[in-house]
């Protein structure tokens, strides 16, 4: 049971070859490139959703920040589609791997910080000390703000990993419990099954929310630095 619980998080391989790259590239197949002025229904719906999201997300940004529009939209689409595909039974979810999420978080966070230091050095350095800090607290607060800055990519990555992994584990556990309870008490198994359905609906929401939170935080870090 214990070994089965974590087996779904192991990197998949077929005949000794790692197929993680194929799995990571798969969601892009679900978003065909629009080739006409008026496209088919799937592409039109996707375009409408992307326009809605990008309008809302980029409203706070200035011209410099809006150069990141493609990156932010790609990020939310990738994480959202990967998380949703991971809810299919027996599928592998790349965003359960901390290495993958750190690989997304560190370059994007570092990009925003370097942008801030490059174009607005004084303002970026001023972020290390909140306005109105009493004089004796300044050294301590500079240290605290530095630590909070350096923790941002870790928090981004671990938040996504933990949420998706925990959700999948819960689904595994409650699904296993439902199956085990069928032979013992059908009523209890039915109640557990209802809980499983509600949890799955929650996981659909969590999959999209976590994609949105990740992208929104990167967008906020960018806004602070542009």
């Amino acid at each position: 049971m214990n070994e089965n619980l974590f087996a779904s998080f192991a990197a998949p391989s077929m005949m000794g070859l790692p197929i993680v790259v194929l799995i990571v590239m798969f969601p892009s197949v679900l978003f065909p490139t629009p080739s006409r002025l008026i496209n088919n229904r799937l592409i039109s719906i996707q375009q409408w959703l992307i326009q809605l999201t990008s309008k809302q997300m980029l409203a706070i940004h200035n011209q410099k920040g809006r150069t990141w529009a493609l990156m932010l939209m790609s990020l939310i689409l990738f994480i959202g589609s990967t998380n949703l595909l991971g809810l299919l039974p027996h599928s592998f979810t790349p965003t359960t791997q901390l290495s993958m999420n750190l690989g997304m978080a560190i370059p994007l966070w570092a990009g925003t910080v370097i942008t801030g230091f490059r174009y607005k050095t004084k303002v970026s350095l001023a972020h290390f000390l909140p306005q109105g800090t009493p004089l004796p607290l300044i050294p301590m607060l500079v240290v605290i703000e530095t630590i909070s800055l350096l923790i941002q990519p870790m928090a981004l990555a671990v938040r996504l990993t933990a949420n998706i992994t925990a959700g999948h584990l819960l689904i595994h556990l409650i699904g296993g419990a439902t199956l085990a309870l069928i032979n013992i008490s059908v009523t209890t198994a039915f109640i557990t099954f209802i809980i499983l359905i509600l949890l799955t609906i929650l996981e659909f929401a969590v999959a999209l929310i976590q994609a949105y939170v990740f992208t929104l935080l990167v967008s906020l870090y960018l806004h602070d630095n542009t």
Binding site: M71, I106, L108, W109, A110, I114
Partner: protein
Amino acid sequence: MLQNLVKSVWVPMKPYYTQAYQEIWLGMGLMSLIVYKIRSADKRSKALKGKIFASSKGWGTKDTILLSQDTVSHGL
């Protein structure tokens, strides 16, 4: 195939890769440095542990003695 790749990917994405994402490339360099440091440290510690437990008496070289003293002092 390469020509098609250049026409469909590189040409539309060139301003992003060359101008807009300069800082992200630096961030990717930082991330690869971190990955390299972690992997090399992991390889080094595994090689050292392998030396201790693979040798017949376990106290062969200066490195293994120092590491074993370190593991003993930490109660491992």
